[in-house]
Amino acid sequence: MNIIVTSIDYILNWSRANSLWPLTFATSCCGIEMMQTVASNNDIARFGSEVFRGSPRQADLLICAGTITHKMAPALLRLYEQMPEPKYVIAMGACTCGGGMFAQTSYSVIKGIDKIIPVDIYLPMCPPKPESLLDAIRKLQSNIKKESILERKSFTNKHSSPLSESCGLLTDEFNVTKLGVL
């Protein structure tokens, strides 16, 4: 039994890890470094992630590249929830990891996107160099290769949104469904 499971795991994880399709979600400064990672000198295609998708329904990696503010937070949550399983998140840049330079004095910046969505890889620095983003993708790949279908339940629990009643402004008045309504 275990032999079958590990063989399936191996094939499944191998194919998932080497075809991570990121969502183009470039909110600010880190987005430019993300573009640089795609461009000639760094070439993200070597790691199977060059297919940037405009629609969350076709993507399985959310590279959150840049500051998230209160106004943007519902959009981020909505995009994450629209992505199909399995999905992974890289928090790129200091702002997404914990508010960065804006954490202490700004009134509108979210202090870390892990308050809204679960994060797999944290990538600090302001902004991270393209090489660091490639390293983060490699680390995520090695994490994916350790997954097993037997632990599927715990995986989906881990990757469901932690948003609880405590996130007041986000859930009631700035309801995610309101964003699309004009």
Binding site: T24, F25, A26, T27, S28, C29, G31, I32, E33, M35, Q36, A39, S40, N41, F52, G54, G66, T67, T69, K71, M72, A75, L79, M101, F102, T105, S106, Y107, S108, V109, C126, P127, K129, G180, L182
Partner: protein, 361 residues
């Protein structure tokens, strides 16, 4: 025909960040456009009131991440002028070189991103290859690629090095720009998508507060560099083209890259003759501006940038206000997109070179 409301953004690959356009459509025709901004509002102006000048200085690069040097320079300049500090010739030349390199990097990125908006992917790779040369030079000099934080009140962090790298960039770039022009300028698809699209005449531009390349591509010779103290003794000609459309704005930016190359080579000559880095560095811990109001301006890649500081003599400013070029360009979209077709919407908004942190501050 039924009217349709289309929501473009805030997460859209072609809106250069988090711009949201609410378009009212009739068929393919845009009846009205309402930009919705603020998705990247970080409260920069309020933060300035809570922080001292030296604490605020590193944050300033984040206002425009493609041209961070300009905003650093603007803040340093305001403080220096308020306290009557003279810069030595070498410091001025260093700042000038870095500013113009940054302008080139910004325009190069714009060429790549704009052409990608129109569906051409290869210019993106070419433009980013050359931009990487400039960024790697910035990293050598200041230790950071984009958020350099290199200018300080009264001078620069340390003396500039690796001049041979700049000379190499200046040697490589003109050929590469020629290559882009061969690839893009005469391309029939590109011409069809941009020529006579997004017409911005002179009076509309004045009325909407448009400055910078967008204004000069409408035939107005207004370049705030000509009165700038950094550009004293430097010969340069503002790029003024009379076409008013997206195509002209593209040509103006390409020509500005060539103009920047000329400015940098002149500044390099100054740098070679002036060996002495005479810095008048201020003590950042006791720094405070005398009571009063201060306004300074600079010609940034995306139009006029200016800063207003009201000081009461304390260590933190009483009021801090940024004026950025992109903010007014976004407002202009309401006018330019009205009556245009949906497939031109991205081409027109891309040609104005909007960057969102500058809009949202």
């Amino acid at each position: 025909m039924n009217k349709l409301k289309l929501n473009l953004g805030p997460q859209h690959p072609s809106t250069h960040g988090v711009l949201r356009l609410i378009l009212e459509l009739e068929g393919e025709k845009i009846l009205s456009c309402e930009p919705d901004i603020g998705y990247l509002h970080r409260g920069m102006e309020k933060m300035a009131e809570k922080l001292s000048y030296i604490q605020y200085l590193p944050l300033v690069d984040r206002i425009d991440y493609l041209a961070g040097f300009f905003y650093s320079e603007l803040l340093c300049r305001t403080v220096e002028k308020a306290l009557n500090i003279e810069l030595s010739k070498r410091v001025k030349a260093i700042r000038l070189i870095l500013l113009e390199l940054n302008r080139m990097a910004s325009h190069l990125l714009w060429i790549g991103a704009f052409l990608m908006d129109l569906g051409a992917v290869s210019p993106f790779f070419y433009a980013f290859r050359e931009r990487e040369l400039i960024l790697q030079y910035f990293e050598k000099v200041s230790g950071q690629r984009m958020m350099n934080n290199y200018f300080v009140f009264g001078g620069v962090r340390r003396d500039i090095e690796f001049l041979e790298d700049i000379e190499e960039i200046l040697k490589i770039l003109p050929e590469k720009v020629n290559d882009y022009e061969k690839l893009i300028t005469e391309n029939p698809i590109f011409i069809q998508r941009t020529k006579n699209k997004g017409i911005l005449d002179k009076n509309t531009a004045f009325n909407f507060g448009i400055t910078g390349v967008n204004l000069r591509a409408s035939g107005v010779e207004l370049d705030f560099r000509s009165g700038d103290y950094l550009y004293e003794g430097i010969e340069f000609k503002p790029v003024v083209l009379d076409g008013c459309d997206s195509y002209t704005r593209y040509r103006a930016r390409v020509q500005e890259i060539r103009e920047s190359i000329k400015i940098i080579s002149q500044a390099l000559e100054i740098l070679k003759s002036e060996k002495d880095l005479n810095q008048n560095l201020l003590n950042p811990f006791t720094l405070s501006l005398p009571e009063g109001e201060y306004i300074q301006e600079i010609e940034a890649p995306r139009g006029l940038a200016s800063v207003y500081i009201k000081s009461t003599g304390e260590k933190t400013p009483y009021r801090f206000k940024w004026r950025t070029g992109s903010y007014y360009s976004v407002n202009l979209l309401r006018k330019l997109l009205k009556g245009a077709y949906l497939n031109d919407a991205i081409a027109i908004s891309g040609s104005l070179d909007i960057i969102l942190p500058e809009v949202d501050k």
